[in-house]
Amino acid sequence: MTDITSGEFPSSIRRVEFDSAESKARLRGRYKSEARFKAYGIVALVITTSFLLALLTSIVSRGVPGFFQNYLVTEVLVDAAKIDPQGKGTPEALRAGDYSAVARAALADAIPGINERQLKKELNGLLSSGAGDDLREMVLANPSLLGQRIRTPLLLADQADIFLKETESAVRVFADTRGSATPSATTGDITILVSGNDFADDVALIKAELVNSAVALEKNIALRAGRGASAESLADLKAQAAELRQRAAGTASETLDSKTASRLVAINGGVVKVKEMTPTSVRGDVIVPLTTTAEAAPGTWQIRVYDRPEADRNMNDRAATFLEQLKSKGLIESKFNWAFFTRGDSREAELAGIQGALVGSILTLLVTIGLCLPIGVLAAIYLEEFAPKNRFTELIEININNLAAVPSIVFGLLGLAVFLNFFGLPRSAPLVGGLVLALLVLPTIIIASRAALKSVPPSIREAALGVGASHQQAVFHHVLPLAMPGIMTGTIIGMAHALGETAPLLMIGMIAFIVDVPTSLTQAATVLPVQIFLWSDLPEPAFKMKTAAAILVLLAVLFLMNGISIWLRKKFERRW
C-alpha cells in the first residue's frame, strides 16, 4: 500500500543545522572520535609490526651466520703412508685410512714450528673431528689423488668457527708502537724489553681496574658492616681490598690473569702471550716461535688486545692466536654450508645438519596429508551436503569444532595410548607422527572444507539440479570443483600447522638424537621443530646458531606453504 497520510510534519522534530554551535560541537566530536579510532588502529599496527620486525631481525641475524661455515683452505698432502700404509689400494683400505692425520699434517704445515705438546693439541683442536671426511670421499672417488698435493677446504671445529664469526672476540691491534723491542729468546718463557713506555697506558689501565675493584669491595664491606656483620668475618675482605690498593699504588710488575683482558705481543714473526708487564717490559710465553732475537724497530711489532678475558671465551689465547695467524695468511675461507642441508644430526655442531629432520618432516606430513585430505574432505562433503540435519549430526558437528580446540599434547597422549601401546606401532616413527598429526589437523580441514562448500552459491546447485543432475552429480561436478581452492587453502594451512607442531610428537618419542636420515615410514626419525627444540637445549654456542638457522628454514617452509595457499586462493577465485 502506498497511501501517504497527508498533513504537516510535526514541527517539534528538529532538522540538522549547519551553523549552530551544538551541531558544530557534535561534528567536532564525530571527527575527533574518527581520528582517535584511526590513531588506535595505527598504534596497534605499529606495535605488531615492530614486534614482528624485532623477532625476524633477531632470528635472521642469529640464523644467517649458521648457514655459513669457515674452512681452512690449504695445501694438503694426501699422504699414502697415513691413508694406506700397506699400499693395498682397495676401497676398504682407503676408507679405513686416517684422514684426520692428513688434515692435521696440513695444519702443522700452515703454522710451522709448534712442537710443544700442549700447543700442538690446541692447534689440532682448531680442526673439526670430521675434517678428514670430505677428504676421504674425494680419495674414494678418485684414488689417483694418493700421494699428491691438493688444495682443499678442511672443516674447522665449531669453536673456531664461532670465534671467527663473533665480533665480541675481535682483537684490537696497536701497531704504532713507540719504542724498539728486544726479545730475550725465540721460544719458551721470554722477556721483551722496550725502549719506549709502550705498556704504560695498559699498566695504568690495569691499575685503574684494580682501584675500581677495591672501591667495589670497600662498598661491599661498608654495606655488610651496616647490616651488623662481625669484624672477623670482614677481615678477609678488608685484607683483599688493602692488597688491591697496594698493588694499584705500587710500581711492581702487574700480573695478567685469565680474568683480565689478554695482551699479546706480535714480534719478529712470532707471538708472545703476556704474563707480567711493567711500563717498559713484558714477560710471557711464546705461542708462535719468533724467528730471531734481533731488536724490532718501532712500528714493526704490535700489541694485540683481546678485551674479553680468556675465562669468558670458549677459545683460549693460544688457539685464538693460531686462528689469527691462519687468517692473516689468507687460509681461512667462509663458504655456504651446504652440508647443513645434507647431513643428519651430530653431537659436533659443525657436522650437524637438518637433512634428517627435513626428511622426517616430509615423511610425517605425507602420512598426514594422505590420511587427512580424503577423510577430511569426504567427511565435510557428507556433513555439508548429504547428512540429515538432526540431533546426531549436530552432536558430531559440535564435537568436530571442539576437537579443533583440544590442546595438541592431548593428541600426543592419545597417539601414545592408541598407536604405540594398543596397536604396537614403532616408537619415534614418521608413521605414528603422521597419524597423530592427522588427528590434530582433521578438524581444521573438515571445518575449512565445510566453509568452502558452504560458500559455493546455491544457484550453482540449483542450476545443476535444474538440468536433471542428481544430488551427487551436482556436488561432485559443480560444487566440489568450486570449493576446491578453499579446501586446498584450508588443507595447506592445516599442513603448515602440522609442520610446526612439536608437543604431540614428544609424546610418541620423536624427540631423540637420530643421526641417520630416515628412509622409511617406520624408521626412527625426528622432525624439524623437534630438532630445533633439541638443539636449543644444547649448551654449545655453535648450536645456538644452528638453532636459529633451522628456525629460518622452518619459517621459510611455512611462508612458502602459506604463500602457495594464498596463490591458490587468488588464482581460483571466481565470481558468480
Partner: protein
Amino acid sequence: MDMRPDPLVMMTSSVQDQAPKPVKVAAKNVNVYYGAKQALKDVSVDIPVKAVTAFIGPSGCGKSTFLRCINRMNDTVASCRVEGLIQIDGKDIYDPALDPVQLRARVGMVFQKPNPFPKSIYDNVAYGPRIHGLSRSKAELDEIVEHSLRKASLWEEVKDRLKDSGTGLSGGQQQRLCIARTIAINPEIILMDEPCSALDPIATARIEELMAELRSNFTIIIVTHSMQQAARVSQRTAFFHLGILVEKGETSQIFTNPTDKRTQDYITGRFG
C-alpha cells in the same frame, strides 16, 4: 509508472490462441507447507500444452513455490511438504516410483538470476546431454550444443568463443545461455522463475521474443512480477494472492475483465 497493461499487446496475444489446447500439467488441491506454515492453499490449475502460462501475484504469494512443485525442486528443501495431486500428461509426478532427477530432465528450469556454471559456454550447454547420455558421439554433442544455442538465439554471438567461460557473458547472454542449457536436454516443459528480473529492458525484450518462439515446441510456465511482461508473453495467466490461486484464465480476460476484486486491485496497481 503506469502499471496498467497495454490493451493492444493483450489483444494480439489472445488472438493467436483461439483453439483450446490440451492440458499438459494438471494440479488438483495442492497444499504446500514449509514446516508449520502453509504456503499454498488448495491450488488447482490446468496448464495447456505449447503455450506460455504466467503466474502473477505480489511477493510471497506462493507462485514460485507452486512453480518449484512442478519439477519437484522443493524436494531439496528439508522442511517442505507437498500435498495434493500434480500430473504431467496424466501421470502423478509425486508418485514414489518416479525419480525426481528424471522428472527434472523432462521439466527444465530457468532461474531468476542467470546462473551459468563457471565453465566454458560449450560445457554449460553440453552438461545436461552428457549426464543423461543424450549423445552418442562428439559430433552429435556438437550438434546438440549448436542447435540449443541457435534456439536460444545466442549462437551468432558466441559461436567463435565456445571455449570461453559462460560467466564472462553479459547478463542477458548468460540468461539465454541458461535457456540453451535447459533446452539442450529437450524437456517438455520449461519453468521460468522471474527470468528477466535481473536484466535490463533490452535483454528482457530478447528473452520475451525467445519465449514467443519457444512456445511452439515447449510448454512454458513463467513466474513474473511484471504485469506487462505477463500480458506480452503469456496466453494464460493465474493470479496468486496469499497462497491462494485467486483467478486463472485467458490472459486477455484476466487483464481486461477480472472477476475478482483482488485481481482487479492488483493489476491496476492498487497493491503489491
